[in-house]
């Protein structure tokens, strides 16, 4: 028995050795950068010359005097609400349809998920052409059907730029929600599944009252992942609008990039980074606490 305890003791030491490489990477590329931005956010610094200490000035400027930053906060709210819930509802609808007696389910599933594997930059350039008021897809449809309201400078109008960008995101990521809901539906007991086919008014009610609540773990996972995704959106905004026009579609990530790499305000960019980090951590941890969302992992398909 003594040998076994000794073995256990060695195993305990060994455990740390096995996770050490992962921790080293964490320390170097996650923990250290977080300390770095916290320190840099207290500097007036262009990234080349040594910075000057300004205390909390960057934060004061952000919250008190910077209308662009206020726009990024509003846009963070829009991105969170208008990507997460439409993606959930449409994704759920598609999953219910595909869960019924459909021929070629795998093909449809592949089609709806397809946008999620394509580079956001490619997607952005294609959608620019769809939105283009001069000869784009929507404007051509508008001209041919005489519905001129369809032809708008979606990306060039401050009033619609953010929404138009969000719409592309919904198109790209709804298939992801669909996949998770489909797997969720397939994990439900048979009698419930019976109810999960659209069958007139009663079918819809059963869907809403029985099936939807049973998929709570899926909803929570999607809300958590959607929140994290919405807060770090960069590529789509960068390619579609560069945060414009007149900063209307600026997000915290694109604003960090603009300040740090185009205006050489590394200190100010670092302060925005810190705010974004705090928002992301508070929102996701808070959500995990309040709703019980988590990154759940179990059996595959």
């Amino acid at each position: 028995m003594g040998g076994k305890t000794a073995l256990k003791a060695i195993q305990r030491q060994e455990g740390f050795l096995f996770i050490l490489p992962a921790l080293v990477f964490f320390a170097a590329f996650v923990a250290y950068p977080i300390i770095y931005i916290t320190r840099a956010s207290l500097l007036d610094w262009n990234g080349l010359a040594p910075g000057t200490w300004v205390g909390l000035d960057n934060y004061v400027r952000l919250f008190r005097d910077d209308p662009v930053f206020h726009k990024t906060l509003r846009n963070a709210g829009l991105w969170t609400l208008l990507t997460i819930f439409p993606q959930m509802f449409i994704g759920f609808g598609l999953a219910v349809l595909l869960n019924g007696p459909i021929l070629g389910r795998t093909i449809y599933r592949a089609i709806f998920y397809l946008p999620a594997i394509i580079s956001p930059i490619v997607i952005g350039i294609v959608w620019q052409r769809i939105y283009d008021p001069f000869g784009g897809l929507l404007s051509d449809v508008a001209r041919r059907t005489d519905q001129m309201w369809l032809s708008q400078p979606y990306l060039a109008d401050p009033g619609t730029a953010t929404l138009a960008t969000i719409a592309v995101n919904v198109w790209q990521w709804t298939g992801f929600s669909m996949l998770l809901y489909l797997a969720g539906l397939q994990g439900l007991p048979g009698e419930v599944l019976e109810a999960a086919t659209i069958d007139g008014a009663t079918g819809f009610q059963r869907l809403r009252q029985i099936v939807w609540p049973m998929l709570r773990p899926v909803h929570l996972t999607l809300i958590l992942l959607g929140l994290i995704g919405a807060l770090q959106t960069f590529a789509l905004v960068f390619i579609l609008t560069r945060g414009g026009p007149n900063n209307a579609s600026q997000t915290m990530p694109t604003y960090i990039f603009q300040q740090a790499f185009q205006l050489s305000s590394m200190g100010y960019g670092a302060a925005i980074s810190v705010v974004l980090l705090v928002v992301a951590l508070v929102a996701s941890l808070g959500q995990m606490r309040l709703l019980g969302s988590r990154f759940v992992v179990g059996e595959g398909d």
């Binding site: 195993q11 921790l23 349809l97 709806f112 998920y113 580079s119 000869g135 951590l281 992992v297």
Partner: protein, 286 residues
């Protein structure tokens, strides 16, 4: 057109309902595909002609001249190679480091290992754009701008947590009889990991492999900042290079978009099963 149980014909109402659902799904799928179809159709657009409808979604006289031109004029294989030289080492590193860690977490728990696990998981909530300033400055100091390692190392760090979640939960569900027997025969922990657990865990490794491949292949903001030398840029940055050059030649630009996207789509179609089990990697066991 609909299969039904032999000897038990479906009522007419049910048949119509199924046909209706099928039609609806087909319509939605066709609608969903419009942007992808447009990427290809604009690439087939002749540069001189005006024979296009719907912004290029319908091309009356399709041609492959755009593909020939962009392939001839640009070092596209080089960009593919750059993407591979960044992605493959990242995936290998993520798999080795995460499987070691997952073995530690699931088989050799020690005081405080729960704390380290949660700390690692916090990475999943850190928006990548918040790391871009320090990663750029550090890479500059270490001379890692335009160096593949400048992307490989942070990608690895950012990929480890998700891989650890997937692998730890997979390891935890594997039976331990074999390992116990090996231990009694005097195998070290590393031998148990290397010779018993790793060979058994390929389904989970495949999931991590594909997921990490996709994530690294499509990562944008760090690549944008760290890869400034054209010869070192990965595919994701390629459309930006040509967005200006081919401003007046959308056909050529879209041919490039198609060339860089089609391989990804093909791989996805072939490995769909793994993609999907990776995503649903049980996110549903609440």
């Amino acid at each position: 057109m609909h299969a039904s149980v032999p000897g038990k014909p479906l009522p007419a109402r049910e048949v119509w309902r199924r046909i209706g659902t099928q039609a609806l799904v087909t319509l939605l799928a066709a609608f969903w595909l419009i942007p992808v179809a447009m990427m290809v159709s604009v690439a087939l657009m002749p540069s001189a002609s005006r024979d296009v409808l719907l912004g290029g979604l319908v091309v009356l006289r399709p041609t492959l001249e755009n593909f020939a031109q962009v392939w001839r004029d640009n070092p596209l294989p080089l960009f593919f190679l750059n993407s591979l030289l960044i992605t493959v080492p990242t995936v290998v590193l993520v798999l080795s480091i995460s499987s070691l860690a997952a073995f530690g977490f699931s088989r050799l728990p020690f005081r405080g290992s729960g704390f380290w696990y949660i700390l690692l998981m916090l990475t999943l909530m850190v928006p990548i754009p918040t790391l871009v300033i320090p990663l750029f400055q550090t890479a500059k100091q270490l001379g890692l701008i335009n160096n593949y390692l400048g992307l490989i190392l942070p990608y690895t760090a950012l990929g480890i947590p998700f891989a650890v979640v997937v692998l730890t939960s997979y390891f935890s569900r594997l039976p331990r009889d074999l390992e116990d027997a090996a231990r009694l025969d005097g195998c070290t922990s590393f031998q148990v990991y290397r010779q018993i657990l790793l060979p058994l865990s390929w389904p989970a490794m495949a999931v991590v492999f594909i997921w990490q491949f996709m994530v690294s292949w499509n990562e944008f903001i760090l690549a944008l900042v760290l890869m400034q030398d054209e010869g070192r840029k990965p595919l994701i940055l390629v459309p930006l290079i040509y967005n200006g050059v081919y401003l007046s030649k959308p056909g050529a630009l879209f041919a490039i978009l198609t060339i860089i996207t089609v391989p990804v789509i093909l791989i996805y179609l072939f490995m769909q099963r793994y993609f999907i089990s990776g995503l649903t990697a049980g996110s549903l066991k609440g």
